[in-house]
Symmetry: none
Subunit: 533 residues, 2 copies
């Protein structure tokens, strides 16, 4: 069996930072992860250093089943984290061994299973429609079956806080059924999200004293206290905390992984991440927002673009004396920046750092830095964003530092025609006229959409002269419509991730027309590759 | 002198719900209130029933000076609230009576003044550059001067929590200087926002025991705990809580008035608002977002559009049994609604619930439910998603239950041509051929992108026959590219939010071509509207 404990984390298995972005986070309205998205999310979370990644509900959702299969077949190699499958206990009136859903948890090949069980008598009797004895038997039977099959098991005690307030004996019996049968951690869930931190701390302390079990915490944000409730539970003795990236989740959402982690590290002094990984919080948060296709919350604690933005006024001059007098932590410690003026982009220092990262030396070139900062600010005001588009930023830097980069081809013109014909058929056709290798080439192609048609036509025109082109593939393609005000013209931003088998790189294009925006990103992608051929 | 105590509130002056949207909230990046905006905000807050409205900083900001003048001249008549002017204590080395800024507070004619004073010795010495004696003299002198002039005074003790941790004596001396001189409430401010609730509760309890002063609380959200910290302070004895609408404020923002109020009322049983006013929370929150020109946070606790949205699956059939098993409060109590999202996890139960919500009765139609479930599952497998597209789902339901919905027009064909010309110009042109009102109409138009061009051409063709079309506007447009696997064909999903001034509705379209996907969503949007004309 693969490992069931996190690797390379300072606190080892003593404290669990447990992420459920891929299961409970996916409950957020508007999120719909593909299997490829799920693999990418898990990779980023592992890179950051969470201890456990709940990947989904195999057997209940076909995409989740496929995710676990592909992960187990080697598409996901985890450095720190352990993969967890989520599922419910067996149904009433059968055995765990014979329950198809329980079987699916085994089949997922995840080394850890988190089972959900209702801990509120009202839910047991009215939603589950069994008595408390049978509910406890369902828990005990399923836990011991999975433990017997070599799995590590955690128990999510759903509706625990409400249930404990209504009928403490039933709530504790459910915990006991799981723990006695071999569950490692019992997780107290505020499923309806109605708790407040002082109450959570009292309950966690009381339950710990009465049971001696290892306790976890799972909070929803319906009182806007999910982060606070999670931290209060840890201060009261919980050693396992379940979060989702950016607080994604049903209704008001879950406890935000980034705020919880920031608080654990910066406020409670708990080294829950690998050394140095806190500085990745901002980047990972934004990358996960990108994959979820949700605009990052600019005012999110720790990682929001405005989290350390000061609107001068009262504090402007004092900030110059000592920025730490006005920031609760050093923004750089979480990979964020302080901003005093309302500027679109981080300043010269971060651009120099970025240049170094991209291999463009800006050290002795203050003039080039100035002109890039000016250009980037102007472009960002028009809707460009280079945060996730390193390859486009690199081209921009090179153009300033080394002079214009020679492109592998030049465009004369393109035309794309989209027909929804009288017979109902929809056809996209593109024609490009380009100059490449000293020749003028015209090519026409069809595609299933305008951008696809343009891509196919361009490849047809360039391939004979640029044989390396065949190795370049589209890896991901994201579109965001930027509407300034209702009724005004929208601008489209396209992020294009390309790959050649060895490496992946991302470029950006912005235009009123999605086709032109895509074209700009495609051109940058090909120039980027041509510099490495 | 006008009244200095709230009127018509169940708790009278014993508990202060104090709003600073117009001062601290205006520090949020992107907010810029006009004087008319400020008057509208104050009117809405008063209508809701907050006790105190901090209107701004007269003398420091010309707009704020004007706001107070117009309010005092009768443009703002407050039913419940008392208007508060915010300002700092006198400068060092002068007297309050001779300080221009202090004079401006009197001139504002606000019956209550909140003075801000630094309570952290590091700030006193390094930012203010005076010693603690002088800082306390500045507080005492200014408070007693204003009290002598008939004003009620509150003292905001800035950086209190950090200051108290660093040097408790200085922090307490500042409070004492204000209280002894006649301030009514001393407000403990977590100015840098770094606190956590258990610590806040401990400090408030300790300070209350050591001083016996009436304490207030003001929290920033830098640990994502502003609401929790505010509530914890109240539980520990604070009887004055400062908030901003929707948590607007500098950096990560302030404590959200609506979540704080929801928690005080629903969780602590404190009737802080006039009878029945809780049901206005959602409406007032959205109206204030409108004035601030910030899109409402759909996932905001209590008042967000998704605050009671359930992605069914696990819970759908149980929600039918009793919705309160799955909501921490009755959504109607805060003027919000429960919504059930139809997703791939959807079964019959959630679809029936959804039908009820949309006004399509599926109760006696098991056949229709079966056929819709089948259709939705098939479409979701192709990339459709109805969870955010109620209007498209409603059409789908109506088509099954009542037979085909008659569309206001039919398409014969469209053609969109996108040119990137030799001179570098990018042009989009669309031609539509439609049948409407018994006629065949052809129209051509340009746009800044293919979808825009198609939209303009369609409106041109339909407007003469469908006059209601002019009221329908694009409110939001989202595009998601669904890549199943690298290299395979992508599918585009478009979510289109339309509005007619009264209502907003969202439709969805999915196709290989973004233009056809947008077309499908546009057609649904118009059919939806036509059923309501």
């Amino acid at each position: 069996m693969t490992r069931t404990e996190p690797a390379g984390l300072p606190l080892g298995d003593d404290f669990h930072l447990y992420d459920t972005t891929l299961r409970d986070g996916a409950q957020r309205e508007g999120i719909s992860y593909s299997v490829a998205d799920k693999l990418a999310v898990a990779g980023l979370l592992d890179e950051l250093g969470v201890g456990f990644i709940e990947g989904g509900w195999p057997g209940a959702l076909p995409k989740d089943t496929e995710f676990f299969a592909r992960a187990a077949d080697g598409e996901l190699v985890l450095k720190h984290a352990v993969l967890v499958a989520f599922g419910s206990t067996r149904k009433a009136g059968t055995t765990a061994a014979r329950d198809g859903q329980v079987r699916a948890l085994l089949d997922s090949r995840a080394p850890v299973v988190t089972l959900v069980a209702k801990a509120d008598r009202r839910h047991i009797e009215r939603a589950l429609r069994v008595d408390v004895d049978e509910a406890c038997a369902m828990v005990a039977d399923t836990v011991s079956f999975l433990v017997g099959e070599g799995r590590r098991v955690f128990l999510d005690a759903e509706h625990f806080f409400d249930g404990y307030a209504f009928d403490p004996d039933t709530a504790l019996r459910v915990l006991d059924a799981g723990y006695t049968a071999g569950a490692d951690v019992v997780v107290l869930c505020d499923t309806n999200g109605g708790q407040l931190p002082l109450g959570v701390a009292d309950t966690v302390r009381e339950v710990a004293a009465r049971t001696g079990f290892r306790l976890g915490i799972h909070c929803q944000d319906d009182t806007s206290c999910a982060v606070a409730n999670s931290i209060a539970a840890v201060q009261a003795g919980a050693t396992h905390v379940q979060c989702t990236a950016n607080g994604y989740g049903e209704r008001a959402g879950n406890a935000d992984l980034f705020a919880v982690t920031g608080n654990l590290v910066a406020k409670l002094g708990m080294p829950v991440l690998p050394t140095g990984a806190e500085a990745e919080l901002t980047r990972v948060s934004h990358a996960l927002a990108e994959i979820a296709n949700i605009a990052p919350d600019t005012h999110q604690a720790y990682v929001g673009a405005s989290a350390f933005a000061h609107k001068a006024g009262l504090h402007a001059s004092a900030i110059k004396v000592d920025p730490l007098l006005y920031n609760h932590i050093d923004p750089a410690s979480v990979g964020n920046d302080m901003r005093v003026l309302v500027t679109e982009m981080a300043g010269r220092a971060s651009l120099e750092l970025k240049g170094r990262e991209l291999g463009v030396d800006l050290a002795g070139r203050p003039d080039a830095v100035t002109s890039v900062v000016t250009k980037v600010k102007r472009m960002e005001a028009e809707g460009w964003s280079f945060e996730a588009a390193d390859a486009s930023l690199e081209l921009l830097l090179r153009n300033e530092v080394d002079g214009p980069v020679e492109p592998p081809f030049t465009l004369e013109s393109y035309r794309v025609v989209l027909d929804h014909r009288g017979d109902g058929e929809v056809v996209s056709e593109a024609t490009v006229k380009v100059h490449v290798g000293g020749e003028r080439v015209i090519a026409t192609a069809e595609g299933n959409g305008p951008v696809h048609a343009l891509d196919v036509a361009l490849r047809k025109a360039l391939s004979p002269s640029l044989p390396w082109l065949d190795s370049v593939e589209l890896a991901d393609y994201k579109v965001r419509i930027l509407l300034s005000d209702p009724g005004t013209d929208a601008v489209t931003r396209v992020l294009l991730k390309s790959g050649d088998g060895d490496q992946e790189w991302t470029t950006v294009g912005v235009h009123g027309s999605i086709v032109e925006a895509s074209w700009l990103a495609m051109c940058d992608a090909l120039v980027h590759k041509s510099l490495r051929v």
